[in-house]
């Protein structure tokens, strides 16, 4: 039995046993994980046709009757595999708080205003080069109850599938220079500082559109390699 996808890169991930993030205390497994060989069940994965994404899903500022409040931004980047190859036609789902740091979610109790013109959920498919693009509003920081005076740095949640069950990941994109990084146990749960920095988007003047919106680049690297290499073409 073999591991078809490289395993080494997984050390970029946080450990579920990260006690500074108190919600992990009763939820992180206490038994060691069992190494699973990569079978067809793992190296295959769901494929979502373009039907999964409707026009307007990638512009979160156009989903209601009026314009949402806040700083309009463009978030774009490429989805790549560990070998640097683009992951084309893969689904990207995002969700976020509004400019005031409030989620539409029914259980969000933060006393900051909802914005009738902003839901904060979007979807996009990557193109043939693995590129995606969203237009949205810069989310606000918000308080949570993990510890005294706990605040989450501004972030956008990203959910990706990639080419297989193995490449599935949910993560969060942050913004450069956020003063809350040092105090956030979720961001700090990633042990390697270089890996942590990969979650921080990069301000990009070339992505920025004059008199319209600031631009941020966020590339995402998914698990895996080409699991089904194409045979080299040959002449008989």
């Amino acid at each position: 039995m073999s591991l078809i996808y490289p395993h080494d890169g997984l050390k970029a991930h946080p450990l579920n046993a990260s006690p500074a993030y108190t919600s992990t205390l009763k939820r992180a497994p206490s038994q060691p994980l069992i190494l699973l060989p990569h079978t067809l069940s793992e190296i295959s994965g769901p494929a979502f046709g373009h039907r999964a994404v409707q026009a307007g899903d990638s512009d979160l500022t156009l989903q209601h009757g009026g314009e949402p409040l806040g700083e309009r931004i463009i978030v774009t980047g490429r989805v790549l595999d560990e070998d640097g190859r683009p992951v084309p036609h893969t689904l990207v789902e995002i969700w976020q708080a509004n400019a005031a740091g409030r989620y539409v979610h029914l259980r969000d109790q933060h006393p900051a205003p909802l914005d009738p013109n902003f839901t904060g959920a979007g979807r996009a498919m990557t193109d043939a080069e693995g590129r995606y693009r969203f237009v949205t509003i810069k989310p606000g920081a918000y308080p949570w109850r993990n510890h005294h005076n706990a605040w989450r740095p501004a972030h956008i949640h990203f959910s990706l599938f990639g080419s297989s069950f193995l490449s599935r990941v949910i993560t969060q994109m942050y913004f450069p220079g956020d003063p809350l990084f040092a105090y956030d146990p979720i961001f700090q749960s990633i042990p390697d500082a270089k890996a942590r920095e990969r979650l921080i988007s990069r301000f990009d003047i070339d992505t920025t559109e004059p008199e319209w919106a600031l631009g941020y680049q966020f590339d995402i690297v998914l698990r895996g390699r080409d699991a089904t290499p194409l045979e080299e073409p040959h002449d008989d």
């Binding site: 946080p14 009763k26 939820r27 038994q31 190494l35 067809l40 640097g84 959910s159 990969r198």
Partner: protein, 192 residues
């Protein structure tokens, strides 16, 4: 297979958090669902099955904000069977305030396994939740399937924990599968 050094570092995982529902399982918000608990529509060939369970934490308390995703082969053991209208093989469900989830699907067929063997029918499962920084991966096998006895993956699991991967068929025909994140009867989770 020898591991090769990857050129790029992986994007690290972060928790799904408590507020994903309006984007990922948005039925209550009127949003369009990418997938839900109904994995197979009525016309899909195969034995109809229902799987029900609860997600529980280390105190045995329900986890009301978990998201369960499953990935499975069709009744013939084929993944991504594009010819199967009404069946993608992918399901997604949010747990209820009581930690409850369920899936309606067809029983998967045996899938090719290591070294030309067949694996016992199973579903691949991802568990996401507030408090989980990285998804947990497990499998659902079926209690009434004799192929479990020779399954190569089940054989990797210590005998006394194997039952945590097997959905038990009740007298009503429904399969029951609880996911215990921690502690007594902790579900087996895999390093993939």
């Amino acid at each position: 297979m020898t591991e090769h050094k990857a050129a790029l570092g992986l994007t690290p995982s972060q928790t799904v958090g408590p507020f994903y529902a309006y984007a990922l399982t948005p039925r209550a918000y009127g949003g369009s669902e990418l997938a839900n608990e109904r994995i197979a529509t009525d016309g899909v060939p195969g034995e109809r099955i229902t799987i029900r369970g609860h997600v529980l934490d280390g105190d045995g308390e329900p986890v009301p904000d978990a998201m369960i995703e499953v990935w499975q082969a069709d009744a013939d053991g084929r993944h991504n069977a594009g010819g199967n209208a009404g069946f993608t093989g992918f399901g997604r469900a949010e747990t209820s305030p009581e930690g409850f989830f369920h899936f309606e699907t067809v029983r998967p067929g045996a899938v090719e396994g290591p070294d030309g063997t067949k694996q016992a029918p199973h579903l691949a499962v991802s568990v996401f939740a507030r408090g989980l920084l990285l998804r947990l991966v497990t499998r659902i096998y079926f209690s009434d399937d004799p192929a479990n006895a020779s399954d190569a993956v089940l054989a990797l699991v210590p005998h006394e924990r194997r039952e945590t991967l097997i959905a038990q068929r009740g007298p009503d025909g429904v399969f029951h599968f609880d996911i215990r994140l921690q502690g007594e009867g902790e579900t087996v989770f895999f390093d993939v």
